[in-house]
């Protein structure tokens, strides 16, 4: 008996097992808390309010190849036709589609170029007086621009005098002041802000400092390729969309209608990668927690098999079943707590690394704390079954020789 090598004593064996369990719990905690945080971050991003009735708005492109038509006139005719369609609330030709990832932006200034001035980057949409209503965004101060103020342009030789701007833009250009009636400059051209828009997201949701800053310019300057935006009554979008191509072609045939898409779909396409990342992370942490739970389950079962005799002896010496259960639960909890301590440090470190190398915001401690509690509960659930099995080991096993 004295020849038993120390590497074979049960103490060392269970120590290695415990260390492995501890590592699993630590890494699991680190991954899950960071992944959960990223998931929450993406969810907030995906579900942020945009200011639009996305499910009632759609867009389409018109590519005109015929040369026997005046585009500005044609746009006017098309708009009238669209607005007259049953189910349509309003329709407009617009230079960019919000939430789509495509559009124009420029620096808006307090003073004209070339004077030195504060400049704030914002998206701009060229459209007519129906733009505001078609977008369905909320004007919180001032008025919409009028038909007379809309500049019809073929070559950008004329420039509008007024514009609508979002509150976020005006607040940054004129902090602490009422933006209504103020003048901002686009290059060297002055624009008087006649109306302030509340919530209105621009084309790029990803660009944190630009997404809330937009300007509506009363300009119609359609190119060969231009876009329309249509808002319908609730539930009637699909019906209207079906008629668009033939309706547009019956107005004028030498053109291609393309990218007839709902605003919600445009947004979904734009955020597809983020949604994918979120889903992958959800799968990752679910499977990870499952694997770790299975690991705890498996190791506890093995420990119990290894200690069958010992458990029988303890029972023979007067241990109640509950004492056996608590023995394993306590043993597991000790390992788990040690793992959690390590895991919490790991989570914070991983969070710092992710923040340093990638555009991930700082990890909130709440996520680490909640994850730690959840992992602890998970480990208890994983150990309770095997522990009950251990408690049912017959004490008479102690008197058997093998």
């Amino acid at each position: 008996m004295l020849e038993i090598k120390p590497i074979f004593n049960a103490l060392l064996r269970s120590k290695v097992g415990a260390v492995l369990l501890l590592i699993q719990i630590a890494i699991t905690t680190a991954i899950v808390s960071n992944a959960a945080f990223i998931i929450k971050d993406r969810l907030d991003y995906l579900n942020q309010p945009t200011g639009y009735e996305e499910e009632n708005i759609f867009k389409f492109n018109v590519m005109t190849f015929g040369t026997d038509v005046d585009l500005i006139q044609q746009v006017d005719l098309d708009e009238q036709m669209l607005r007259a369609m049953p189910g349509v609330v309003d329709a407009v030709q617009i230079s960019a589609v919000p939430l789509s990832g495509g559009g124009s932006s420029t620096g808006f200034r307090l003073k004209p170029v070339p004077e030195k001035s504060k400049s704030v980057n914002a998206s701009y949409f060229e459209t007519d007086e129906h733009g505001l209503n078609t977008l369905g965004v909320n004007l919180i101060a001032g008025r919409n621009f009028t038909e007379d103020e809309v500049v019809l342009n073929r070559d950008y030789s004329k420039f509008p005098k007024v514009a609508l701007a979002t509150k976020a833009l005006m607040d940054e250009l004129y902090p602490g002041e009422d933006g209504l009636g103020k003048v901002i400059y686009m290059g060297d051209q002055p624009l008087t802000i006649v109306g302030i828009i509340g919530m209105m997201k621009g084309p790029w949701l990803k660009l944190e400092n630009r997404k809330d800053k937009s300007v509506l310019l009363p300009t119609v300057s359609p190119g060969k390729l231009h876009q329309f935006l249509v808002r319908t009554e609730p539930e009637r979008r699909a019906e209207v969309m079906k008629q668009i191509e033939s309706a547009m072609h019956s107005n004028y045939a030498k053109r291609v209608i393309q990218d007839l898409t709902g605003l919600d779909v445009k947004k979904a396409d734009y955020v597809a990668e983020d949604r994918l990342m979120m889903r992958m992370l959800v799968i990752l942490i679910s499977v990870l927690v499952l694997v770790t739970a299975l690991g705890i389950f498996g190791l506890t079962l093995f420990n119990i098999n290894k200690r069958t005799k010992q458990i029988g002896t303890r029972r023979a010496l007067g241990a109640r079943k509950s004492a056996i259960i608590s023995y394993f639960v306590v043993e597991n909890s000790l390992i788990c707590i040690a793992g959690l301590v390590l895991g919490v440090c790991g989570a914070v470190l991983l969070g710092q690394q992710l923040m340093a190398h990638y555009s991930v915001p700082a990890l909130s401690n709440w996520y680490v704390a909640i994850t730690a509690v959840a992992v602890f509960v998970m480990s208890l659930l994983a150990v309770i079954g095997p522990a009950r099995r251990a408690a049912n080991i017959d004490p008479s096993i102690a008197t058997r020789t093998i």
Binding site: V113, Y156, S157
Partner: protein, 437 residues
Amino acid sequence: MFSHYIDLSWRSFKRTPLVSLLMVIAIGVGIGITMTSLSVYHMMSMDPIPEKSDKLFAVQLQSMDEGESWWSPDSMPYQLTYRDTENLLNADLPFKRAALMKTGFSVHLNSDKVKPFLEQTRVASRDAFDMFNLSFINGGVWSKEQESSAAPVAVISQSISKKLFGTSNSVGETFYLDDLSVRVVGVIEDWKLHIKYFDLNNGSFNKPEHIFIPFSLIKANEIDTWGNTNGWKHEPVKVFNDKLQSEKFWLQFWVELNNASEKRVFEAYLENYIAEEKKAGRFTREKAEYKLRDVNQWISYWEVVNEDNKIMVALSFMFLAVCLANILGLLLAKFLRRAPEVGVRRALGASKKQVFFQHIVEVGMLGLFGGVIGIIVAQVGLFGIRQSLSYYDALANMDISMLMTAPLIAISACIIAGLYPAWLVCNTTPATYLKTQ
């Protein structure tokens, strides 16, 4: 002996089926998740033109005034001005050069035969076909004369040719780009690329274009870009010529340089060019700056492999580590329970080495099973990704190298996890267990 070990391993697998299955699933899931993110990463970062990726260089010129900055990592503009593009293209140099721009037209036959459709079109100088390894099925590239005289000609892909004319030999046919009638001079095989490395401005994973027209048509037909136009100073653009003369960036430019000395010649040319332009009042920065990046440098400069994917790869490997710790624990338990049996084997004359090898074969087998399950899991994962993102079609796939990598990673990971338990068990002192039994 090896087959005997495999037999023993299989028996051992069957003796504890639940635990063995648990281990195989743990490896399978770990490998599966890792391979899913790794496959996408692999496709994203794969060299799109390995045979000459180190010979093709994207050209960047720092033509902005002092103090102006760009959002690229080194503040260099990604694209070139029309003026610089034209100058570099027409310079008397012995190197192949490609000036590129993305645009698009309504494509039609001016008849009812084919319904007009919108098609993105690549404006390119004639060297581009040779430089980017595009292979002609019929005809060839337009001539130098056609290029310099802005002839309305086009090279189209096989699939567009079939769509318009029902044949892949459509050389000599004419079709319309908006109101411009163009004649087909060549038909190429469809350009299959998973990274649109030659123009990364509008989505790295978009499909390459199917219609190509001469670069000189930009000026002659006032063709504007469908890509990005970016400016850094206030320049009113009232007519198209204003844009051609402006400092706005909207064109891509590549040069093929076959060796270091060619590269030096071209660099010397660029330095000289910048100095000349300086005299004309451009390139006002004190320090003249230009950059030549080869294909792979260009792809990493653009950060084509997106951040999310890198995070996923990192997290997946950590996940794999958890799976391995899991397996290591189970292996330890499984092997040590077998210590008495090993004691008997040792007493019967098995050497330490043989016992060790037997156990390594066993974990290797677990790894192989896990690898196979991993491939299945990864296929499911990649299928899910393809469903979520249409443009990941070409990316969310396992190529042969990834298929081979899966079991390789699985087996080596398992063997690493199995080393310690196998070492422990092969150190069994034969007497110990014979006695207590």
